[in-house]
Symmetry: C2
Subunit: 229 residues, 2 copies
């Protein structure tokens, strides 16, 4: 069925930058395009917005259809509207970013969607469309956020060590942090609850496990802080 309008209209899409954290690395979930344009190239999961669904719903639906992910932390990022960003026609894309625990979702993305794959953010392949720009804006948002809001709850497993948390911050910021300084600051926020458990393994001595204090986490998210890193 054809749909006719008085003026030409842009097509509207959503694209999602899904961040995960594993093995000390910040990762992004990409899919390999099956169709032209950019056939065979890696791209962000996404697709066209239906005329009767909200943008958030479209983003959740596309992420689920293309990567099997559901019930994830999702936030609108920015809307990309360069005139020639799609070679076919004018396409405006509302970009989202999502944070997932790799521990929950690793298997899923690898099985349900054969073409979905996690890439370290520092070693992304050449991406289709302006998706490299979208990833850059998402990463900048994440880097900005860690300075004034707690982050990590959505990216770390429920129990983690201070090293895990430091590695997450280092992976997001792409910089090494001073261990003593980091611990002092992060413990100073009163955000972490020490568990009666340690992580045993590897060459290292057992490391204290922590969880986030959910109330304090929500409060600091609202109030903000200054995490001078």
């Amino acid at each position: 069925m054809a749909h006719t309008y008085q003026y030409p209209r842009a097509a509207l899409t959503v694209d999602g930058v899904v961040f995960g954290f594993g093995a000390g690395e910040l990762k992004v979930l990409l899919i390999q395009r099956a169709l032209e344009p950019f056939k065979g190239k890696w791209a962000l999961p996404g697709g066209f917005v239906h005329v009767d669904e909200t943008l958030d719903d479209a983003a959740r639906r596309e992420l689920f259809e293309e990567t099997g992910l559901e019930d994830i932390y999702l936030e609108q990022l920015y809307t990309f509207g360069a005139v020639k960003r799609d070679p076919r026609e004018r396409v405006v894309s509302v970009a989202y970013y999502a944070l997932v625990k790799l521990s929950d979702h690793k298997a899923k993305a690898a099985t349900d969607a054969a073409e979905a794959k996690w890439f370290p953010v520092s070693q992304l392949p050449k991406l289709a469309f302006d998706h490299a720009d979208i990833v850059a804006v998402a990463l900048a948002r994440l880097q900005g956020k860690v300075r004034y809001q707690p982050i990590g709850f959505e990216l770390l497993p429920p129990k983690f060590t201070l090293s895990d948390l430091q590695h997450l911050y280092e992976a997001i910021l792409g910089a090494e942090l001073d261990k003593r300084n980091f611990r002092k600051k992060v413990l100073g926020f009163g955000l972490l609850v020490a568990l009666n458990e340690s992580q045993v393994g590897g060459r290292h001595r057992p490391a204290q496990l922590f969880r986030f204090d959910a109330d304090k986490y929500e409060k600091l998210k609202k109030r903000g802080f200054n995490f001078e890193l």
Copy 2:
């Protein structure tokens, strides 16, 4: 000329929340709608995105056409896509917010566009569409921003007193701030340059005038800070 597509398409608009600061109040620039829907109601300036212009260009063009404003500080805010936000059909709107110096723009908005008017943000009339939501999101963005980035350069005249700056923060936050504490903190950032001038007038004794240190301002904008207010 008719334009035909295989699937129905949303119309795409831009809307602008223009903030100004004057007489101790944070204000928003509104226009009175000349056409249905919401004829006669106050609304944000905005309109349809042309298929061959970027979103930023569309926002600048619409603001100029509807309010006479140009060369202003403009940032994309959020994209609003509730399915029934426009009673006519599906319309997705990319919202922007702008900061202007009322001293520069007051006259213009009053003459070029007879129907444009500044309203104190605390006393807005009932707005068309979901524009009250858009203003709320813009205000929340501004309130968040003052905590971790310097702001005010775009809203204050080139020379201002510490009282002006405090009143701006109070107007944005909708809360009174402690004068001594505010001054100590704001001077501590090294952001302000004391001028060899005072403001004389009213019942008060002459007040020291300041300007922003542009370099320091840009640095703090990038690096961020924690302005615990």
